[in-house]
Symmetry: C2
Subunit: 342 residues, 2 copies
């Protein structure tokens, strides 16, 4: 039997945590080659290359300082080299990089390769928005599963217990990925719903922007729970309206309700939206100050969703998504988040 | 057309907030008599009777200090006198008082009276646990609706926005109660599911005990969201297993998911369970210190539920409920809350 060979495409905060999990698991589980190549977007840390630092210290000093990565994880600066010979690609990069990476990988992957996408967000085209898993699937002509859940990366790096959800189309692949990812502190449920899992992971950030505004306005726990509830229903309605084959049960998985809760209490979209209300600063400014220049997913997704709703005249059917967009991009009074949704 | 006459049976923290809402609404809505009698369990505050103080200051100085109650709400120390002539009884008392109150009201209520129960918890008999709404219905031979939601009382007293859910059997009554309770800051959804609404309100407190333990153990947002998710599923499973006619949609209402969230982040069961872990004190001690001697609903409900599960040999199907019980009552190591549910 041929062993599965894993490559991790991406090495940010979440990607590095995932490499840590997989590096341990491929050794403990049977059927996997022990070496994992991890693609690192090369950058200089002082006078040293990040890949060299990772391979020397077995630690991602930039994106996950203080946490050891198993020595069988090898940082590679060339994405084609990282993916070479891999039968499993774990794709965990910011969504704006997906196109470029797929272009490079096209024609350079193993004939039996399959992928699992941990990418959050959509791919926007002139005709609308498309899931990232579709993009990868079409670009590389391979099968793509998805993984999403209540997974704040730093807590998992500390091996605190969490759950996650893997969406599969082919059950055999779902089970393979469960074996690859599951640990004592990272519990995997698999569901036959690739898109449901992926889309919850993208849309929840819009709800978190709304929840953060409630925190900034100091409206309390009842109001915040109401916003989360309404947001969850709009998320479900949106996904079921625009995509086929979505399962109701998916929204009860970690990728659904649990991730919405985690993101609305502990995530960076919540934090930035609270600061937006309290300080009056722009989201651009707050991205610089709070996120080290990283782009916020929630405001971008709110805009992408709103453009679809607006084009179809569906604003009134999605009052929370619409109001969040208008507060962020059109200067609407934030108090409208309560007034306009009831 | 005969006007509806409202009596509020109960005057604790939540009962007083409800009396404030209803006192305003009966004047603004058509079809209601303006005077509302509120039954107050008489007690002495210094040398004054609590009823006299409420009627003089239009404020419940003991259970909701600092908040004005409309002058058309009249405190009455005798429950039969309070209910006399009322066509609507709003029952909002601790569940251990329900039997005694019903005994007194029996034969002393208006022939057209109907009730809405805001009581949390179960009524335990030797043969098992029964919903409070059943008890009221059988004792007084009247129709009973239920109200429950993400409703921390002090936030509603400050007129911060929240939602709630009313469960009805007769849609006409559901709509009547919606008119009676709804305000700009207190949004009512009605559902054809008396028991679903009521039982969510009771069971959520067990989940909150679990969530508070996670806070005490400092396991973070991912773990807490996992516990909330698993708790919500066990709550749904328990209610659907033991009661008929429960609607799936009820769990997406304010009484379901939103109340679970509010209770797990802002409620007193969460707070006491966190302190139980951090200080090592008993729940009895913490009730005295944190709750002014008031009994915690969550630990009591955990025990009632566990006895049912144990009798039927269902412990393994409800690992969170079972583990919460064992930590509280059998001295199980609190870390088992994570280990035993996965």
């Amino acid at each position: 039997m041929i062993k599965e060979k894993v490559a991790v495409i991406g090495s940010g905060n979440w990607g590095t945590v995932v490499a840590k999990i997989l590096g341990t698991n491929v050794v403990q589980q049977s059927g996997f080659e022990h070496e994992i190549k991890m693609w690192v977007f090369e950058e200089m840390i002082g006078e040293r290359k990040l890949t060299d630092l990772i391979n020397e210290k077995h630690e991602n000093v930039k994106y996950l300082p203080g946490v050891s990565i198993p020595e069988n994880v090898v940082a590679v600066p060339d994405v084609v080299e990282a993916a070479k010979g891999a039968t499993i690609l774990v794709i965990v990069i910011p969504h704006q990089f997906v196109n470029g990476v797929c272009d490079k990988l096209k024609g350079n992957v193993h004939p039996k390769v399959k992928a699992i996408s941990l990418v959050k967000g959509f791919y926007t085209t002139e005709s609308g928005i498309r899931p990232i898993s579709h993009l990868i699937k079409e670009a590389l002509k391979i099968s793509v599963c998805t993984l999403s859940g209540a997974n704040l990366a730093n807590e998992i790096a500390q091996e605190k217990f969490s759950e996650t959800t893997i969406g599969y189309k082919n059950r055999h692949e779902g089970k393979l990925f469960k074996r690859l990812f599951e640990t004592k502190y990272f519990k995997v449920n698999i569901v036959d719903d690739v898109l449901g899992v992926e889309l919850c992971g993208a849309l929840k950030n819009v709800i978190a922007i709304g929840a953060g505004m409630i925190d900034g306005l100091k409206l309390g726990e009842n109001t915040k729970a109401a916003i989360i509830r309404i947001g969850l229903l709009e998320m479900k309605k949106y996904i079921k309206m625009f995509y086929k084959g979505i399962k109701d049960e998916t929204f009860f998985e970690s990728c659904g309700i649990a991730d919405v809760i985690t993101t609305c209490y502990g995530g960076r979209n919540r934090k930035a939206a609270e600061a937006f209300i309290v300080t009056g600063k722009s989201f651009e400014q707050l991205e610089k100050e709070l996120l080290n220049g990283q782009k916020l997913q929630g405001t971008l997704t709110a805009k992408e969703i709103y453009l679809v709703l607006h084009r179809k005249g569906l604003e009134k059917e999605f009052p929370l998504f619409t109001t969040v967009y208008r507060i962020v991009f059109e200067g609407l009074d934030p108090h409208k988040i309560v007034e306009d949704i009831v």
